[in-house]
Structures are given as structure tokens and as C-alpha cells.
């Protein structure tokens, strides 16, 4: 099947999904930390068919991140990374966001910080750039105490409250949760985010992991530990989405973890996600992965006789005995 042009699949194929008040033209979103250092990187994914693109996580101050190696592939379909949240600081990053917004991309700003005050300051600056939502990264598994904090309901709640209060209700706040198999803790933290005013939960970030090089007899990554992504973590991510969906959580869920094709996305939708984010898939399938998935969804809809993707969301609940 020939690839359709940007405009046709994006606007005519009934793949829209709604994350609260925000409508996306399709459910595929570029995950934070992938390509998004510059406007050009965000545009690469946008032109590749993404329904939205999430920026690199930015903080108050410029940070170089960890020393290399920063990524390493592992057998079994996994990628480990320890980039270390490199970013130019929010002020220097604003022109990149504005340029991507000007080009017509639906941009989501990703924020990191140590305390709620930092999240608030960064969020306030991002709010004026034309971004359509903010994603709070409370879950990087290889920088300081970020990871542990993301599973602490009090921390999550404080960060969401501080940001929501500062930017008002116009820009929805998403919270990106840590990768974990401790689903009850994950659900508790997500419920805290919801109670504090979050508009959506993004699950999951990379899982804390370690890979060693046996010739060098040391960790394969410069930082030592890293975060695992890719197909290896998909079942964990699907379970996380399902556990969130079947809990008391009422806000939309965005699934992330190991998506390589349209069937992976449908799995996430059935488990309860309304959209998905894709990171490692961009490396493994190229930056047109978003468009490819949309085409597969068009075919899936035809095969199952459905007009939109909407009836699939949470379908597992209906079909479960």
C-alpha cells in the first residue's frame, strides 16, 4: 500500500482521539527524549505522521547529561539509555518550540525539575509558546531521585498542583509515570495526580535496568544504570495501562512502551489507553512509524467494521469474563 500524503491520513481517516479537551488527529505521539532537541527533530516526527510531538524534557538550567555511552541495544528487543536529561534550559529552548508550533505541529512541552517550584517556573515559561499540553516528567530512572519521587503520591500531587495553579486550566497537564511492575503504587501515584488536577496519565517511562559489557567488565552505559525501553517492556506497559484503566482513575491514559506497529497500538487501546507515545520505535522503524501505524489502523477499522478507534478504548473490560 502506498503511503498517503501528510494531509490525507491526518485529516480524512477518522483516526482522531480526544485526550480530555485536546483533540489529536491520530493517537500516535512522539515520546519525550526522542529527536526533540530542536524544532527540526520535532518536525521530523510530525512530518512522519505523529498526532502530536512531546519535547525533550526541559528544566530551569542547562545540563549536559551523562557521559557516553548513552544508549546500548540488548538482546531480546530492548534498548537501554542513560541520556541524563540533557537540555539547554527552558529559556534557550523556547525558540525551538515556537518554531515547531509555527510550522503547524501539535507540540506538548515536557518539564523536569527537582521541586515543585522548578516545575512551576519552567511550565510558566512554556505556557506562552503555543504548546497544547504540558507533560510533567516525574519519572526519569537514571537521574538523581526522580524515579523514586514519581511513585510518591505526595510529590506527584504537589508538582501537579503547583503547575496547574500557575498556568490555569487552559493548558492540560499530563503526568508521565515511572516504569514499574509495582502496579498498586503506580495506581496510587496516578490517582494523586488526578486529584491534584492532572488531565491525563502517561504510562510508562523506561524501566530501571542495567547492562554489562563482559569484555570491558563494566556497565555498557557511561552512567552505569539506565532505563530499558523497546519491545522488551511492552507487556509491562500494557499491564500498567490496564491496571490504571480498571482502577478508579477517570482521566485519560496515554500508553507508552515498546510500540513498533499498529497492532501494538490496538493492544494499548484495548487495555484502556486513548493514545500512545512512541520512542524506541522511531529508532527501530524510522520516523515514518507514525504514518505506518495510521495506515494499519485504517485497515484494522475496515476489517472490524468500525468507523473510529473510539470503540476499542478499554475494550478489554467489555470482553473480560
Amino acid at each position: 500500500m502506498e503511503l498517503m500524503t501528510t494531509s490525507s491520513y491526518r485529516y480524512e481517516e477518522n483516526l482522531q482521539t480526544k485526550i480530555g479537551s485536546l483533540q489529536l488527529e491520530n493517537p500516535t505521539i512522539l515520546a519525550s527524549g526522542v529527536l526533540g532537541v530542536t524544532a527540526g527533530g520535532l518536525m521530523r516526527a510530525w512530518q512522519g505522521g505523529a498526532g502530536a510531538v512531546v519535547t525533550k524534557s526541559v528544566g530551569i538550567k542547562a545540563q549536559p547529561g551523562h557521559p557516553g555511552p548513552r544508549i546500548v541495544g540488548v538482546r531480546g528487543g530492548g534498548l537501554l539509555n542513560a541520556m541524563g536529561l540533557p537540555n539547554p534550559g527552558v529559556k534557550k529552548y523556547l525558540p525551538e518550540i515556537k518554531a515547531a508550533v509555527k510550522e503547524g505541529a501539535c507540540v506538548i512541552g515536557s518539564v523536569i525539575g527537582n521541586r515543585s517550584a522548578q516545575y512551576r517556573k519552567v511550565a510558566t515559561q512554556l505556557a506562552g509558546t503555543g504548546i497544547k499540553a504540558l507533560e510533567l516528567n516525574v519519572s526519569c530512572p537514571h537521574v538523581g531521585t526522580f524515579y523514586a519521587q514519581g511513585l510518591k503520591p505526595s510529590h506527584v500531587s504537589a508538582v501537579v498542583k503547583a503547575v496547574s495553579k500557575a498556568i490555569g486550566e487552559e493548558i492540560p497537564v499530563w503526568v508521565k509515570m515511572p516504569g514499574t511492575t509495582d502496579y498498586p503504587r503506580l495506581v496510587k501515584a496516578a490517582l494523586a495526580a488526578e486529584a491534584a488536577g492532572a488531565a491525563a496519565i502517561v504510562a510508562i517511562n523506561t524501566l530501571p535496568a542495567l547492562a554489562l559489557d563482559v569484555e570491558a567488565q563494566r556497565p555498557s552505559l557511561g552512567r552505569g544504570i539506565g532505563g530499558l525501553s523497546g519491545p522488551a517492556i511492552k507487556p509491562i506497559a500494557v499491564r500498567a495501562v490496564w491496571e490504571l484503566y480498571r482502577s478508579e482513575l477517570r482521566i485519560p491514559i496515554i500508553g507508552v512502551g515498546g510500540i513498533l506497529d499498529g497492532t501494538d497500538v490496538i493492544e494499548f487501546l484495548l487495555a484502556g489507553a486513548r493514545a500512545v507515545e512512541i520512542g524506541t520505535g522511531v529508532l527501530l522503524e524510522g520516523s515514518t512509524i507514525f504514518r505506518q501505524i495510521c495506515l494499519q489502523h485504517v485497515q484494522y477499522k475496515q476489517r472490524h467494521g468500525i468507523e473510529t478507534l473510539e470503540p476499542l478504548v478499554g475494550g478489554l473490560k467489555k470482553n473480560k469474563d
Binding site: K56, P69, K92
Partner: protein, 297 residues
């Protein structure tokens, strides 16, 4: 009867590709090529077999960092690869301290290299102009060697600040008859820039009524490349340049080396770009530092 081997079912993907995992191997040889530049030879058969001129490797200095390095030479039969590193920062300071037997990790080959144009009905030999400035000589050495093997005629311009910094001078000399040297201070060859050296060759060729070069490959400091792009336009020379940008992953996922609004990645679509693709990019204008801050060139 020999027992039948059980059929193996594999759920796991094959081992990660050589672009995503390190081939860790001892250094076979370190040589001081100039006061600032050392060359390293290692055994990496898979890279030596498959690398093309202009491609690069991510070189891991265990415990220190990982940095991109253009491939300077390969010996496919022995499985050897060579790269050369100038002393520019923390990682290369450690690299310069390593000696024979120390371990380095290599990922690659990465990126897209130089491409010799396919001759349309024209019999060889065709002529190639290559221009190397400063520590940009390694990929040009590889390209020169490879083109000569393909029966091309290669004219080389090698430029540096001063005579002692003319990288791979002897090796270029062994390879080609036409080696134009330029130095900023006039200690060797013509005093001036590599761009001026290239223009002398282009003028000579024009004056002699000879056919123009079928292609020009260049690597060096960005102001030099910028000058060459202008020159190429003037002489209608099909130019390919190898760019350098801060790279963090080397495989096109981190986005740190993107140079335009379309998202062209130096590590994946490059490092070698046709000059025609460099309009409306950051080429000659800006580069990102380790944090992602834009720095004017």
C-alpha cells in the same frame, strides 16, 4: 545414529546490531601523527569489511565517554580499522593517554559516507578532487584510497595551520601524484587555505581545457567547508562535505545533531551531505553544545 538436534525456537531478537552494541577490543597500535593528533589501529573485522569512506564509529573509552570518530583506513583482510583523534577535550585527553593493549569499544559503521558518482557511459579514469583541512583528513584518506582502487584519478589538497599539523601527509604522498599542500603560516606548501589550494587546481584544469572534476569530497573546519561550497558553485563542482556535530547516540534517535527544520541528522542522513542539501540548514551558522544550547559558529 546421531541424535537429531532439537530445533531451536527463538523468541529473542538476534543479538543487538553492531550499531547498537560495542565491539570491545584492545588497541593494536597508537601513533603520534602530529603534535596534536594520534592515530589508533584496532581489530574490528565486521567494521573493516563493511565500512565505506566517510562513515564513522562511536568510540567508547571505558570509564570516560563515547565520541564519534571518522574511519581513516580499513584493512578488510586483516580486519583492522584506523581512526585519528585530535586533542580537543576531556574524552580525547583520556584517549591520548591510552596505549597499545588498552581496551576501546567500537560501534559502527555509522552514517552515510561519500558517494562516487556513477559514470554515465564515460570510461574511467574520471577525476576526483578531495580537500582535507586540519583534523578532517581521516575520512578523506579513506575516500582517496578507495577511489584509487576504483581506478579514479584523485587530486588531493591537504591544508593545516602549520607544517607539523599536516595529518597523513606521507600516506597521501604515497597514494597520489597530485598533492597540494597549504599551511596558514607558509611553513609547507603554499601559504594560504585549503580552499585557495583547491581553487589553484580548478583554475589550472580550466586553463588546460581539461574536463572538470566529476566530484569533490571535503572534510575540515566549517569555515573551510563554507568557502568550498562557494567555490563549488563558481566552478559548478559537485561537492560533498563531511560535517561534524555533537552526537550523543550516533544512530538517529536523540536528535542532538539535527541541522535543519526537516530534521536532517548528521549521524544518519550524514555525516556526508551533498552541498546542495545544505541550504536552509545550520551549516556554517550554528551548532549545539552538550546541553543543546545553540552556539554561533
Amino acid at each position: 545414529m546421531a541424535p537429531r538436534r532439537e530445533e531451536r525456537i527463538s523468541l529473542a531478537a538476534p543479538v543487538a546490531p553492531p550499531t547498537l552494541r560495542h565491539h570491545v577490543t584492545p588497541i593494536l597500535e597508537v601513533s603520534k601523527e602530529t603534535p596534536k593528533i594520534k592515530a589508533f589501529v584496532l581489530s574490528a573485522p565486521a567494521i573493516a569489511r563493511t565500512a565505506t569512506p566517510g562513515q564513522f564509529m562511536m568510540v567508547w573509552i571505558p570509564g570516560v565517554d563515547e565520541i564519534p570518530m571518522s574511519i581513516a583506513a580499513v584493512e578488510p583482510d586483516e580486519g583492522h580499522v584506523e581512526f585519528a583523534a585530535a586533542l580537543v577535550g576531556e574524552a580525547t585527553r583520556h584517549l591520548h593517554k591510552t596505549k597499545r593493549g588498552d581496551l576501546l569499544g567500537l560501534r559502527g559503521p555509522l552514517g552515510k559516507g561519500f558517494e562516487l558518482p556513477i559514470s554515465e557511459g564515460k570510461p574511467p579514469p574520471q577525476s576526483l578532487l578531495v580537500v582535507a583541512g586540519g583534523c578532517g583528513a581521516p575520512p578523506i584518506l579513506f575516500a582517496t584510497d578507495s577511489a584509487l582502487h576504483g581506478d579514479w584519478e584523485v587530486d588531493v589538497v591537504l591544508g593545516a595551520t602549520t607544517e607539523s599539523e599536516l595529518l597523513y601527509r606521507r600516506r597521501f604522498n604515497c597514494l597520489t601524484h597530485t598533492l597540494v599542500l597549504t599551511t596558514d603560516d607558509g611553513t609547507a606548501g603554499t601559504q594560504g587555505t585549503a580552499v585557495q589550494g583547491a581553487e589553484v587546481l580548478l583554475k589550472q584544469r580550466r586553463a588546460a581545457g581539461a574536463e572538470g572534476y566529476a566530484a569533490c569530497f571535503a572534510c575540515g573546519p566549517e569555515p573551510m567547508l563554507k568557502g568550498l561550497v562557494k567555490l563549488a558553485k563558481k566552478y559548478e563542482l559537485p561537492l560533498q562535505v563531511s560535517l561534524e556535530r555533537y552526537m550523543k547516540c550516533g544512530v538517529g534517535i536523540c536528535g542532538h545533531c539535527i541541522i535543519d527544520i526537516k530534521g536532517s541528522r548528521v549521524c544518519t542522513e550524514g555525516p556526508v551531505f551533498p552541498a546542495s542539501q545544505l541550504y536552509n540548514t545550520d551549516f556554517g551558522k550554528s551548532t549545539l553544545d552538550a546541553t543543546g544550547r545553540r552556539q554561533r559558529l
